[in-house]
C-alpha cells in the first residue's frame, strides 16, 4: 500500500503540521490521524524532536478509536518509558482499558490517579465517560454536576452536560448549561445558535421569541451561520402564524421571516454558482420557502 506521503505528495513537515492543526482544532478524524501519524512515527521519528511525545499521545488516542491496539500499545510504551510515573500517561493507559471495555480496571486506574492528586480533572472526566459508555446517563449527569460545582470554569464539561441533558430531553437544564457558556464566551456564535435551537425545541410562544432573538444574535456574530439563518426564518414564521400574537408582533415577524428568506435564497444562489447539481437544491429551497409563506398567512 502506498504511503501517505506518496499518495498525497506531502513532505514530513506538512504531515507534522497537519497533525498539529488537527490537535489544535480537536478533530476526531481518527483514521486519518492514524494513517499520517503512524507513517510519521515509523519513518521520521528522529526529525520530530520533542514534538514526538505529543504526537505519540495524539496517535495513541486515534488508534484506540480505530481498534488499533497494536499501535496504541506501542505509543503507550514509548510514553511510559519517557515519562515514568506521569499522571498524564496513566490516564492514557486508562483510556486504553476503556477502549478494551475493561471499565472496572480503567476506573481503578483513574482512582489511583485521584488518590495521588484529587484535583486531577482529566481522571474525573474519564470516570464520567465510563458512565456514559455504559449507558448510565442519570449517573453521568449527576457526577458531571458535582464536578462542575468544583470546576465551574470547565467549558468542555458544561458543553458535555448540555448534550447529556438534550439527549434526555431535559431542555430547560440544557439551556442553563448553554447560558453558562454564552456568559463566558459572548462572542461564540455556535453557543448562541445552539441555545436558540434548545429554546425552539422547548416550544411555546415565549421560548420561540427567545429563540428568534438568539438566532439573530448568532447571525450578528457570524452572518454565514446557515443554521442561525434557517432558525431565524423558522422561529419568525411560527410566531407570525401563532393565533396568540397581536397584529404588530405578527407584522414584525413576517418582516423578519421575509428578510431571512431573501438571505437564504441569496446564500443558495451564491453556493449554486457553477455547479449544475446544486441548482436543484436552490430550486427546492425557493419552493420550500414559497410554500411556507402560503401556509403562514
Amino acid at each position: 500500500m502506498a504511503s501517505v506521503s506518496e499518495m498525497y505528495d506531502v513532505t514530513w513537515e506538512e504531515m507534522r503540521d497537519k497533525l498539529r492543526k488537527w490537535r489544535e482544532d480537536n478533530h476526531r478524524n481518527s483514521e486519518q490521524i492514524v494513517d499520517v501519524g503512524e507513517e510519521l512515527i515509523n519513518e521520521h521519528a528522529s526529525k520530530l524532536g520533542d514534538d514526538i511525545w505529543i504526537i505519540y499521545e495524539q496517535v495513541m488516542i486515534a488508534a484506540l478509536d480505530c481498534s488499533r491496539d497494536d499501535l496504541a500499545w506501542t505509543c503507550l510504551q514509548e510514553l511510559k518509558r519517557q515519562f515514568p510515573g506521569s499522571q498524564r500517561v496513566k490516564r492514557l493507559a486508562g483510556m486504553r482499558l476503556e477502549a478494551l471495555e475493561k471499565y472496572e480496571d480503567a476506573s481503578k486506574q483513574y482512582d489511583s490517579i485521584l488518590q495521588d492528586d484529587p484535583t486531577n480533572t482529566a481522571a474525573r472526566k474519564r470516570k464520567i465517560s465510563i458512565l456514559k459508555a455504559q449507558g448510565k446517563s442519570a449517573e453521568a449527569i449527576r457526577e458531571l454536576n458535582e464536578y462542575l460545582e468544583q470546576f465551574v470554569g470547565d467549558q468542555e464539561a458544561w458543553h458535555e452536560l448540555s448534550e447529556l441533558y438534550i439527549n434526555e430531553h431535559d431542555y430547560g437544564k440544557a439551556a442553563f448549561c448553554l447560558e453558562e457558556l454564552m456568559m463566558t464566551n459572548p462572542h461564540n456564535h455556535l453557543y448562541c445558535e445552539q441555545y436558540a435551537e434548545v429554546k425552539y425545541t422547548q416550544g411555546g410562544l415565549e421560548n420561540l421569541e427567545l429563540s428568534r432573538k438568539y438566532f439573530a444574535q448568532a447571525l450578528k456574530l457570524n452572518n454565514r451561520n446557515m443554521r442561525a439563518l434557517f432558525g431565524l426564518y423558522m422561529s419568525a414564521s411560527h410566531i407570525a402564524a401563532s393565533p396568540k400574537v397581536n397584529a404588530t408582533v405578527k407584522k414584525s415577524n413576517v418582516k423578519y421571516a421575509a428578510w431571512a428568506t431573501n438571505q437564504i435564497n441569496r446564500a443558495y444562489q451564491l453556493a449554486g454558482r457553477g455547479t449544475k447539481e446544486n441548482k436543484c437544491s436552490v430550486k427546492a429551497v425557493e419552493e420550500m420557502l414559497e410554500s411556507m409563506q402560503i401556509t403562514m398567512s
Binding site: 439527549n167 436558540a196 435551537e197 425552539y200 425545541t201 455547479t275 437544491s281 427546492a284 429551497v285
Partner: protein, 204 residues
C-alpha cells in the same frame, strides 16, 4: 406491509454510520411515488430507492430537523418521490433500541405515508464484509412500533447490496458522504450524494 431496500439506499445508510462511528446518526428513506392506489396494494412491497443522511451527533433538537424534512419533502415532490422511512444508529454500539427521537420522527413521517418504516441500525454486527443485514425494521401498528425480522428478503438484491456496500466501505467512500449537517456547514455540499450514487451504479 413490507418495505424493500435497493442497494443504493442500504449502502448510503451504512456509509453514514461508518463515517461517524462515535456519533448517533439519522436519515430518511425515500420511495418512488405510486401512481394509482391499488385495492390489493398489500401485496406489493414499497421499494426504498434512496437514502438521505440527515444528522450526526445531537439528534434531539427540532429546528434543523424541521428544515430538513420540509426541504427534502419539496425535493421529493419534484422528483416524484415520497418520504417512506426513517433510520437511526445510536451513539452507543450496544444500544439499538428506538428512542423517543426515532419514534417521534417516524410517527411524523407516518402521518404523511401510512406504511412508513422505522429502521434501527445494529452496530454490533457492523463489519467491513457486510455478510448479514444489520437492520431492525419497525412497522407502525395501532400506535405502536413492532419489530419485523429483517432478512435478505428485505432487499431488492441482497447479494448486490452486500458486495457493493462492502466494496465502498473498504474504499473509504464514507469520507466523501455528505449529510444534511455537512450541507448546513457549507451549502455547496450536496446531500443527494451524486458521486456516491455514481460509484454504486458503476459497481452494479
Amino acid at each position: 406491509m413490507s418495505i424493500k431496500l435497493t442497494t443504493q439506499a442500504y449502502c448510503k445508510m451504512l456509509l453514514h454510520a461508518a463515517k461517524y462511528p462515535h456519533c448517533a446518526v439519522n436519515g430518511l428513506l425515500v420511495a418512488e411515488k405510486q401512481k394509482e392506489k391499488k385495492k390489493d396494494s398489500h401485496s406489493t412491497p414499497i421499494l426504498c430507492v434512496d437514502c438521505i443522511p440527515l444528522f450526526h451527533g445531537t439528534l434531539a433538537l427540532a429546528p434543523m430537523l424541521e428544515v430538513a424534512l420540509t426541504l427534502i419533502d419539496t425535493w421529493c415532490k419534484e422528483n416524484k418521490y415520497v418520504i417512506a422511512g426513517y433510520y437511526q444508529a445510536n451513539e452507543r454500539t450496544k444500544d439499538f433500541r428506538p428512542n423517543q427521537v426515532a419514534e417521534r420522527v417516524a410517527a411524523r413521517i407516518a402521518e404523511n405515508f401510512s406504511e412508513a418504516a422505522m429502521i434501527m441500525v445494529d452496530s454490533t454486527r457492523f463489519t467491513m464484509g457486510c455478510y448479514e443485514p444489520i437492520l431492525a425494521i419497525y412497522d407502525h401498528h395501532e400506535n405502536k412500533w413492532k419489530c419485523r425480522d429483517c432478512n435478505v428478503d428485505c432487499f431488492e438484491d441482497w447479494c448486490e447490496a452486500q458486495k457493493i456496500t462492502s466494496a465502498l466501505l473498504e474504499g473509504r467512500s464514507y469520507e466523501s458522504l455528505i449529510d444534511f449537517d455537512n450541507h448546513l456547514d457549507d451549502l455547496r455540499n450536496d446531500w443527494t450524494n451524486p458521486e456516491i450514487n455514481k460509484s454504486v451504479l458503476h459497481l452494479c
